[in-house]
Amino acid sequence: MKNRYLRVAVIALLLQLSQLARAEEMIMTRSVLPFPEAMLALQESITAHGYTVSRVQRIDIGLTGMGYKTDKYRVVFAGKIDEIRMLKEKSPLMAPYLPPKVSIFAEGEQTVLATINPKLYADIAGDAVDPVIFDRWESDLRSIFHDVNIAR
């Protein structure tokens, strides 16, 4: 009898979670911080979540160097080497998407962050890769974006 009610509770919980599930393919957030502070918060949170920032591509520097007027715009690449190696080994089609990246750009005195929802990578990687890794990436990314969003 007890198990029966436990099962009921679990099913109910799953139904609730399914209502919350969102299939957003792009994850975005806004920080009230100016670009330099938001950039710092982003890199700190990436590191705190166990990922290595492998490169920061300074898009705005390239554009201004060529004479175009633009605000701050960077692309931050980050990953964990063991995961990156596993993915390119199991699914070579993933290689052009690695390491994952976050776009960060100034919008006046605030900053906007945008990235592909890692869940989308499951379609690219195919059956060879357990999609649980992309669920974790999504969870980590949302947590990182939340950190930047609430940073003051």
């Binding site: 139904l15 792009m26 975005m28 806004r30 605000d71 070579p92 919008e107 605030q110 962050l113």
Partner: protein
Amino acid sequence: MRLIFLVISLALMPVVMAAPDGSALYAGHCSACHGDEGGGGVGVPLSLPSFLESVDDGFLARTIRHGRPGRVMPAFSKLSDAQINAIVSHIRGWSKKPAPQFSMQLVQGDAAHGQKLYASYCAGCHGADGEGGKGTGVTFSRRRDLPIIAPALNNPGFLEAVSDEMIRHTLLYGREGTPMRSFLVQGLSEQDIDDLVSHVRSFAAREAAPVKPAVDITETVIVAESSYTLEETVENLKAAIVGQNFILIRTDTLEHGLVPEGEENQQEVILHFCNFSFLFDALLVDPRVGMFLPCRVTVIEKDGKVTVSTINPLYLSHLFNNAELDEFCEQMHGLYSAIIEDATL
């Protein structure tokens, strides 16, 4: 039976017990584009007093539900009516005045006469066929002194959301703080305005079918096997990249920055390159385009086989809901394909 009832009751309990939090929903779904206080950004400003005074709650709710196909604003099909209404209430909270009420009744006007007036008075901003202004929001890629982009009046999402009466109200009174001026002040009669409304409504009947790219957008990557060695392929790619008017920025390994220097797998090379003019134009169309950046080609040698690959911009283009950007993605798909073909054949 009782068990099923219990499961359903438990599942629905949070929905029944807690009313949706409009502020939290706005923060989660809207603020990244429209700003925390509705000041605009990638998305249009929502807190503009003249905007809130000229749109009813139904228009806001239908806009959230249906979005603007091809014009960045996504359709939030998974939000419940209660959640959408909560977001609308949150947005409405920025206005000190009560929400206007517009009926869904069609305005009776002479669409043919409206078409002539439209060409003279509206097409300059809204486009000859109601396709709207170019670009998105008020980001760095757009002059900040222009508070709003002329909406696409022929957009199926707009036509679904708007009532004739709301269009009429906007034409009669304009929107202060935007280039949209009162047409009464500009000398049109109320009958002229009704004719214009009928013409705008007629866009629904002649809405063009979306153009589908000729290539298979289910392909997630553009990939080819090279008949050359890794080193030869990299050199070929460098020449092909320059040949397609790109500037080669850097060549490094895929593992660069992830492992100590010298420990990277040297059989996995990435070439980074850019055409700044192309990039600048793409950023004007959509500032989120960084997800494609920088342009890269990955070369991997494994088991004696050299493979060259890139992301497929056409595969990613659907993320943006931006028809203007789709054109750039098609161009970029062609350029990537040409570079890889030049280097590997």
